[in-house]
């Protein structure tokens, strides 16, 4: 099946810093989603971004489907940004999501 790799696996940030999370995938995909898993385990939808660039407040995402990667940018990080960020892709001909292992982000004050 499709492989989804996220990097870096762990990231510690000073509050106010910027960061970039990367998601590489091994095959063509129809859709891509970024999630933030909060401390209670809830997966919060951040972006639904099969291609192009989207922005939502301090977060933005870019997917380059032809090169099989997506980037999630966090600017001016806050302690509430801490948690695990998951990239999930939907391969062509399939309706399930395949998840990466996540990026564990800790923002320290």
């Amino acid at each position: 099946g499709i492989q989804v790799e996220q990097s870096p696996p762990d990231l510690i940030l000073q509050e106010g810093a910027n960061s970039t999370l990367r998601c590489n995938f091994s095959d063509s995909v129809n859709n891509l989603q970024w999630f933030h898993q909060n401390p209670w385990g809830q997966l919060i939808n951040l972006f639904y971004i099969p291609s192009g660039t989207k922005q939502n407040g301090r977060l933005s995402a870019t997917t380059v489907a032809t090169e099989r990667y997506s980037l999630l940018y966090i600017s001016s990080s806050q302690t509430t940004d801490s948690g695990v960020y998951f990239c999930a892709v939907r391969p062509w001909g399939n309706n399930r999501l395949a998840f990466g292992k996540g990026n564990q982000v800790v923002v320290i004050p």
């Binding site: 129809n30 859709n31 989603q33 999630f35 209670w40 385990g41 809830q42 997966l43 939808n45 639904y48 998951f86 999930a88 939907r90 309706n95 399930r96 999501l97 395949a98 998840f99 990466g100 292992k101 996540g102």
Partner: protein, 113 residues
């Protein structure tokens, strides 16, 4: 409700018992998915329902696992003769149509003693 709801939020059971987990999707969503999240395996797909079509069961790990969706809405995931390796968080998601953006419920944390 506004989002996907799941019950119970926590379930502790003894090895060998059967359990039922419930998912109530977002109103109007035709597609429903079950995933599970465990420390060793990450987030993995279990089963998918779309309308009245036959479900995609290809992610179910064994024949002890089954799921149904009644009336195109609520779904129940049943695990028979639970084993300790079944301990995980079971997540349900729904989407407006197949392949569309998926929205997740809060999950059911299952612990098998």
């Amino acid at each position: 409700g506004a989002g996907v709801s799941q019950s119970p939020s926590n379930k502790v059971t003894e090895k060998g018992k059967d359990v039922e987990l419930r998912c109530d999707p977002i109103s109007g969503h035709t597609a429903l998915y079950w995933y599970r999240q465990s420390l060793g395996q990450g987030l993995e797909f279990l089963i998918y329902f779309q309308g009245n079509s036959a479900p995609d069961k290809s992610g179910l790990p064994s024949d002890r696992f089954s799921a149904e969706r009644t009336g195109g809405s609520v779904s129940t995931l049943t695990i028979q003769r639970t084993q300790q390796e079944d301990s995980a968080v079971y997540l349900c998601a729904s989407s407006l149509i197949a392949g569309d953006e998926q929205f997740f419920g809060p999950g059911t944390r299952l612990t098998v003693l």
